[in-house]
């Protein structure tokens, strides 16, 4: 930004925003409903799964491989366990791992991104090359590497998602910080003697909140897919504890005789990712309309 000697009036192309049409408004209402349903649904599954399914998910019964009926909505498995209850209770490890993983990755990504963005050139170069290296490895490979060293379990999956998603967030945040850094209000803060830390917290972070919320919420769907893939491979909770991924894998052996074993956990994963993506898209249109049009 250099000062111009004479004041000139620059007339750019005028962007006329259309009045929201009926379909746009309908979509907004739909988005709001989806968001509300998602939040309530996720919370209920996380906090009180017992209120939704009264049967113990690990209790075995005599009714083996029963098809879905009024008694067992989703049928029973080879040990007579209630599939409906297992599907409800199986949400916990998945949602816990993916939501906490995304939160971890968001916090770490923002911290690394801002730090690199305000750091001296050489430090920025070092940090961003490390980020590039991690970005060059597929998310699932990073997750598998971590589990190979840390051992399997839900805690490892949280850590794996947290670390594997961090470089992507850091890359985007760093880019935004670089644009913000040249903004006049940030330059002014420096001129008035604001330190790097203070500038980061007082000026950069508040301007990144929207972007970070949009980024984080749009990553939840991917995180759910990653978490269930890992537990599908048997790297999550141990049987007999319920889990969508491992139950889906366990049901695959009885696929031809008892379709319900794999279908319900699979549908649960699909619906969860759908809801997460729908809510993420909605948040994007509300918080960042420019992004939403592309």
């Amino acid at each position: 930004m250099t000062s111009t000697p004479t004041s000139t009036l620059v007339i750019g192309p005028v962007v006329v925003l259309d009045k929201p049409s009926a379909t746009t408004r309908a979509r907004q209402v739909l988005g709001r409903i989806a968001l509300a349903v998602t939040v309530v649904f996720f919370l209920a599954l996380l906090i009180t799964p017992g209120a939704l399914a009264h049967v113990d998910p690990v209790a075995t019964g005599d009714d083996i491989l029963a098809a879905p009926s009024a008694g067992h909505l989703f049928g029973t498995d080879q040990l007579g366990r209630d599939v409906f209850s297992r599907t409800i209770h199986g949400a916990h490890p998945v949602l816990f791992a993916s939501l906490l993983g995304v939160v971890l990755a968001t916090v770490a990504g923002v911290a690394v991104g801002i730090a690199a963005g305000v750091a001296p050139r050489w430090l920025n170069a070092v940090v961003m090359r490390v980020v590039d290296v991690l970005l060059a490895l597929p998310v699932l490979l990073i997750a598998l590497m971590l589990i190979a060293t840390a051992g399997s379990g839900v805690r490892s999956i949280v850590l794996a998602i947290g670390i594997a998603f961090t470089p992507g967030f850091a890359r985007i945040v760093e880019g935004s910080v670089r644009t913000l850094r040249s903004a006049e209000f940030v330059q002014a803060a420096y001129v008035f003697g604001s330190t790097r830390l203070r500038t980061s917290l007082r000026h950069l972070l508040p301007n990144l909140v929207t972007e970070v919320v949009v980024l984080g919420s749009s990553a939840i769907g991917w995180a759910v897919l990653t978490a269930t893939t890992l537990s599908f491979l048997g790297l999550g909770v141990l049987l007999p504890q319920p889990d969508w991924g491992s139950d889906l894998a366990a049901g695959a052996t009885n696929l031809s005789t008892a379709w319900w074993l794999s279908t319900f956990p699979g549908l649960a994963i699909t619906i969860t990712i759908l809801l997460a993506n729908f809510s993420g898209d909605y948040l994007m249109t509300v918080l960042d309309p420019r992004e939403a049009t592309t």
Partner: protein
């Protein structure tokens, strides 16, 4: 040409970084790697020391890394703890099967995603567009391992059209490739649709039409060509995900490939194999994206500057 050279130079630190990550893997494991390897074999302290010397673990860390790099330069990825075979040999003998599945899935993604996005983009808000959008929204949400099982249930168990497990025939590749490629087809549909809508607003499309250019030519020669750049870039960026997805699909279908090999190696803590896989997949991914950038740079000179200045 300078663009290609500059892009090549930018890859070197990333490649070194990947080798460093792979190298450090063995040291991230809690405990002594030599004890981890010999776990359960009642090894004497002498045997553990001997193995440590054999693995070079008694050397300083930087020396170990240099040795590791020297090995890599000779194409040596170490030996499997389990079979004592060369990791490079074990990986490369299994790679063709995985790459075949990756290529097939990629083909499905392009063959389904691009035409769907094209037609949807030329007629936004039409019935076709709405259906295409719903399909792509669903396509991103359905996990490929679930889709694979549903397809087996439908096409193998019920209809008996396709084999349920991979029997080496092209028909055995259909379900794995479609279930894996579907999600990426959905991503491409969304992308191409959005681009075509944008391109149709461009002045050059108007001028092409004003010159009397037929509609199919406007679409294929002008709009599609300009939309192809982000599509190619996306395919490059998703390549690593498709490759790891292929590895997992292999586990589901009992295909002997990199995936099942890597999975058993992870459970067995067979670290040289995991290290080798990290190097091979990481380097392959970087090289693919290098090629993509060079292609895009050739198609669209404007991106050369953007890619060259970080």
């Amino acid at each position: 040409m300078t663009f290609v050279l500059r892009r090549l130079a930018s890859v070197i630190p990333v490649l070194l970084g990947i080798t460093l990550v792979a190298f450090l893997l063995i040291h991230l494991i809690p405990g002594d790697p030599a004890k981890v390897i010999l776990f359960g074999s009642n090894a004497t302290p002498e045997q553990i020391d001997q193995l440590r010397a054999q693995l070079g673990l008694d050397q300083p860390l930087w020396k170990q890394y240099l040795d590791f790099l020297g090995q890599l330069r000779r194409g040596d990825l170490g030996t499997s703890y389990l079979t004592q075979n060369s990791v490079a040999h074990e990986l490369f003998s299994r790679a063709p099967s995985t790459l075949a599945l990756t290529a097939a899935a990629l083909l499905v993604a392009i063959a389904v995603g691009v035409p769907l996005g094209l037609v949807a983009g030329t007629r936004p808000n039409s019935l076709f567009d709405k259906v295409a959008r719903a399909v792509s929204f669903l396509g991103v949400a359905v996990p490929y391992f679930f889709l694979a099982l549903v397809m087996v249930l439908l096409f193998s168990v019920d209809l008996d059209w396709l084999p349920a497990i991979d029997d080496g025939t092209p028909a055995g590749l259909v379900i794995p490739a479609v279930s894996l490629g579907w999600g990426y087809a959905a991503i491409l549909t969304r992308l191409v649709r959005g681009r075509i809508i944008d391109e149709y607003r461009g002045e050059y499309v108007k001028s092409a039409r004003a010159r009397g250019c037929p509609e199919w030519r406007v679409l294929l020669r002008h709009a599609l060509r300009n939309s192809s750049i982000p599509a190619i870039t996306t395919i490059g960026l998703q390549f690593g995900n498709i490759l790891t997805g292929a590895a997992i699909t292999e586990v589901i279908f009992g295909r002997a490939g990199l995936g099942s090999f890597l999975a058993t190696s992870i459970t067995n803590k067979n670290i040289p194999v995991v290290q080798g896989a990290v190097v091979v997949i990481g380097v392959g991914y970087v090289l693919i994206n290098l090629v993509v950038d060079v292609i895009v740079g050739a198609v669209d000179p404007r991106t050369r500057v953007a890619a060259g200045t970080p």
